[in-house]
């Protein structure tokens, strides 16, 4: 049994009330106005930074009150051409999708980063959000996108000796043979 010392919220007792204050008006001046952006169906703002500025864009949000990296995933756009992207953003095969969440402003921002197939390497967010650790490992495992600066970039869900990255679109779905019918080839 350890000492039961209270760990206070940085905002003090005001933050501890259950009847939370109404959401503040979103800041009028958008962060980093030079980054291409669109609005999403779910009300979140979507940013499309260049790969070189990805880490900087996330860091700017981290310091502007986006305390949490809610989710990080990727999409393989191998067989889905012509998706809607703002002008100036060149589509690449992979897209990394990071969902940032601001608890104070009750706002979400989604960052969609184009990652080319020939060089699937992205800066890790681990130094900004420690919660990125498992999520980046999952993306690495499933898509083969490597993260520089990640402390422990190993497969997380698949066995270590697995070949290939299962969520890539060119990775076939396995079939199991059943009686009187051998396993057909992947779809």
């Amino acid at each position: 049994m350890g000492a039961r010392a209270p760990r206070r919220h940085p905002a003090g007792d005001a933050a501890l009330t259950t009847e939370a204050a109404p959401p503040e008006t979103p800041p009028s001046a958008p962060l980093l106005p030079d980054v291409a952006r669109t609005a999403s169906l779910d009300g979140a703002e979507i940013l499309f930074p260049q790969r070189a500025r990805y880490h900087e864009v996330v860091a700017a949000h981290r310091h502007a009150g986006f305390e949490m990296l809610a989710d990080l995933t990727a999409v393989d756009y191998l067989v889905h051409h012509g998706r809607a992207l703002p002008t100036g953003v060149a589509p690449e095969r992979f897209e990394l999708v990071a969902n940032l969440l601001s608890i104070d402003q009750r706002r979400r921002v989604r960052i969609r980063l184009q990652v080319p197939e020939s060089d699937p390497v992205v800066a890790s967010l681990w130094d900004l959000y420690r919660g990125a650790e498992a999520m980046e490992r999952e993306v690495y495992d499933m898509y083969g996108i490597a993260f520089t600066g990640h402390p422990d970039l190993t497969r997380i869900l698949m066995p270590e000796d697995w070949e290939g990255h299962p969520l890539r679109k060119d990775f076939g779905v396995g079939r199991v043979p059943v009686q009187f019918k051998e396993a057909p080839g992947p779809r």
Binding site: M1, G2, R4, A5, A15, M68, D71, T73, H80, M158
Partner: protein, 445 residues
């Protein structure tokens, strides 16, 4: 001469790099986690990595393995812990033993079939998974649900939260040595599951909440059934209080154990009862309302210390809040349709199929091809009993999701386990694992 048995044994049992490595083989950045340095890096005050090895030389610590078949790890969770005597220094959860590629499967199934897939992820709250998938699909479709469908979903989601928390109370009681609590928790959960069986036909993996509404209306007399559940559970919550909350042994084992600060919880992306136990009033039902949660009254339960006892108290009291919500749902359930009357999404009623050829064709088309969903991408999150359950859906305009990603709260919450366990006793590890409430089906997907 007896043969040396050692030569027959594999000399190296290590599976490799996913395991917890010895100190000298570990990156300094990863070692920093041991000192609870979750927050140091953003400020730029990097810990001097050479200091780390001084305190615990390798020959004084021991790396032990726990799981994946350990009964108290709630499924196939495997933990490797570095111990100094009885004190836990480093912990590494090793997961993937239940990985079945459900996100890949989701890309092979139509939107119509998708809820049968996601419901199997978090098997302790299947309806919540169906809910988030359906909400995401409906957002892409741009359809508005009739009020009764919304309220039925809310009724089921809250009953699900109740059954999930009751199950947690049961297993947590078991983990700290109270067999009585296990029997109690399962007994009350059974009431809820019986209602689910009556409503949806099955106890788990319901596939009841579907894009466009629910599969069926509530059964006749559902109000009485729900009232019986609420009356029983609210009385028995008092029993739990008597059995556990005030009991000195239980409190000794829970208070001050596995504590986490608010900054750490945020940095580690922890949500749900773990985040709330640190004092941050973040509950998506209140802060980013979905369904009709902005029309019902309830409190967001938060803790102060971020320890195991706070997480216990939060879950116990969230059942009380669920009862409050359910009472309001009973009073305010609107009449009307339980699914949207959009011919694109909803199959025709069974009776129409017998008399109309068009209805038969329509029914056939929906169940063979599914309905097409406009191109786009969307992220929708709901508050599952374990935290923020998100669904990221990408559609390319066909009837199957191009990408279906589930942001599983247990998967992300597991990352806070090493921080909670650091400096604690190995005997408390079981209680701490339990307080994270991981569901391995959801962790591994």
């Amino acid at each position: 001469m007896t043969p040396d048995i050692r030569s027959a044994l594999p000399s190296e049992t290590s599976e490799g790099t996913q395991e917890l490595a010895q100190r000298q083989d570990t990156a300094p950045a990863e070692l920093e986690r041991e000192v609870g340095a979750v927050l140091r890096i953003p400020e730029g005050a990097v810990l001097d990595a050479s200091d780390l090895d001084v305190e615990h030389p390798d020959d004084e610590t021991m790396i032990i393995n726990m799981g994946p078949q350990h009964p108290s790890t709630h499924g196939v969770l495997r933990l490797m812990m570095e111990l100094d005597g009885e004190t836990v220094l480093r912990t590494k959860p090793i997961i993937g033993y239940l990985h079945t590629g459900m996100e890949k499967t989701g890309e092979e199934l139509t939107f119509q079939q998708g809820s049968t897939n996601v419901t199997r992820m978090d098997y302790l709250s299947p309806l919540t998974n169906e809910l988030v998938f359906s909400l995401a699909t409906e957002k892409l479709l741009g359809i508005e649900l009739p009020p009764r469908a919304v309220w039925i979903r809310m009724l089921l989601a809250e009953l699900q939260r109740m059954s999930s928390h009751l199950m947690w109370l049961a297993t947590n009681g078991m983990d700290v040595g109270s067999t009585t609590m296990m029997i109690f928790g399962f007994r009350e959960r059974e009431l809820v599951l019986a209602f689910f069986e009556k409503t949806t036909g099955v106890r788990m993996n319901h596939n009841f909440i579907r894009p466009g509404g629910t599969a069926a209306d509530l059964p006749d007399g559902w109000e009485d059934d729900v009232e019986v559940i609420l009356d029983n559970v609210s009385v028995r919550l008092g029993d739990y209080d008597e059995l556990l909350t005030g009991q000195p042994i239980f409190r000794e084992r829970m208070e001050g154990v596995g504590s986490l600060s608010a900054e750490e919880a945020l940095a580690l992306s922890a949500t749900g009862p773990i985040l709330r136990s640190t004092g941050i009033p973040w509950d998506l039902r209140r802060t980013m309302p979905y369904l009709a949660y902005d029309q019902v009254e309830f409190d967001v339960i938060i803790g102060t210390y971020g320890d195991n006892f706070d997480r216990y108290a939060i879950r116990l009291n969230e059942i009380r809040e669920s009862i409050r919500i359910l009472e309001q749902v009973l009073d305010n359930m609107p009449p009307g349709d339980y699914r949207v009357q959009d011919k694109k999404v909803t199959p025709p009623p069974r009776a129409r199929i017998d008399e109309s050829m068009e209805a038969l064709i329509h029914h056939f088309k929906i169940f063979t091809e599914g309905f097409k969903v406009p191109e786009g991408e969307v992220y929708v999150a709901v508050e599952s009993p374990r935290g923020e359950l998100g669904c990221y859906l990408v559609s390319d305009g066909s009837s199957k999701p191009y990408r279906m990603h589930i942001r599983a709260p247990s998967f992300v919450n597991l990352q806070s386990l090493p921080v909670m366990m650091h400096g604690g006793l190995v005997a408390d590890a079981v209680a701490t694992i339990s307080s994270v409430d991981p569901v391995m089906g959801e962790v591994d997907r």
